[in-house]
Amino acid sequence: MRRVTPDTIAVVDLGVCDRCGLCLPLCPPEAIHLELNILTVDDAACTGCEKCIAPCPVGALAMVAYA
């Protein structure tokens, strides 16, 4: 599946993330993973839609420029 490269993508601050998993089902391309207690965002799959950002109960996700 091709996608348009977004200007910004989501990143997680693991120092803030509580590993609650709330963001996983919110991600339309299912780019967020939680394995062995580590949350990761697959930057090749993230479309920059920002749907995960505001719902995070602790503000652990943010958008950054896609380099």
Binding site: D18, C20, G21, L22, C23, L24, P25, L26, C27, P28, E30, L34, E35, L36, K51, A54, P55, C56, P57, V58, G59
Partner: protein
Amino acid sequence: MPDVDVLVVGAGPAGAVAAWHAKLAAPELDVVLLERDRAVGAPVRCAEGVGDAGLREFANPDGADWVSRQITDVIFQAPDDTEVVLAGSGLGWILDRTRFDAHLAAEAAAAGAEVLVGAEATAMSRNGEERWQVRVKERGREDVYRARVVIGADGVETMVGRWAGLDTRVPSRDMESCAQYVLQGIDFNPDAIYLQFSNAIAPGGYAWIFPKAVGVANVGLGIVALKTDGRNARQYLDDWVARRFPNAARTGYTVGGVIVHTTIKKTYGDGVLVAGDAAHMINPLSGGGINNAMKAGRLAGCTAAAAVRENDTSERRLARYHEAWMEMLGEDHLKYYRIKQALEHMDDAFLNSLARTVNKVPATKRTIGRVFTHALIRHPLLIPVAARFFV
């Protein structure tokens, strides 16, 4: 590469009951229950409230060590803190989930299921074969389990559903972002749960006080991010607690998501079922999910056991689980969801005036039904909310 009949992923209420009832239904089957965390029941991501009738289908709370507190009253609070006390209206329990989940897992083990803690499913594939191959990491070692039926009871993340190709995604408007403290040394009625509705305090959700003991409570709230002023759930909670309980000791803290949607369109596939939060089987009005999860787990366990016995674990056979669930509670959730949508338009001024109107009814005649009767003039859909709120 262990071969098992039923592999249950996640040892919360849905998974533990699924494993337990699969063994009860078919004792000769090999049933394995996986828990990712090092202890069943921890960390707690829950306000721990549960209705009495549903709970008793699975466990007897009288004198049980997994109960924190019995509840008899419900107190609604308006945005301006006006209280509407509904005495004797909410028979229920506040659980100790660390002990309760362990109790259910012990029931599964006593029935003959194998319980593994610190065992995380990390991938699952089928490749046209008869069995699912599930990759499981346990204490640094990796095993591949070959399972006739996999039951996904893995909560809000619902990875099993994702791996099986089921659509488990949630629209943002149907995700409650929750934060909760355990507060000690606070003053409240320890026989009541408190629910405060206000767009300023908890937009799109409500704030709660659920007693765990005299002076000790789970104090939290849920919000819908689309309706907020930019603060996250923890910030809303900090502001509320600072105003209501400025001197409390915060001895615990948790966050998490509650999916207030309706059951996913398809909860089954070839050799796979999903149950509980993973299948969005939460009462979308109350956000309650424990009894729902246990009822779904029982259905899933029994369906999986029967399917393995009949040597037919096809999607078509397992579809009976979905049908049974929809008949039992899934159709009700569709109704509650429509009511939830209707409730979204009540503003704080209306909630304040509603509370004052209802308080003119004598306390002995004040029932949830009467509260909602007063709200009917503007919101006719509220009638059925009453009796069903804590199902």
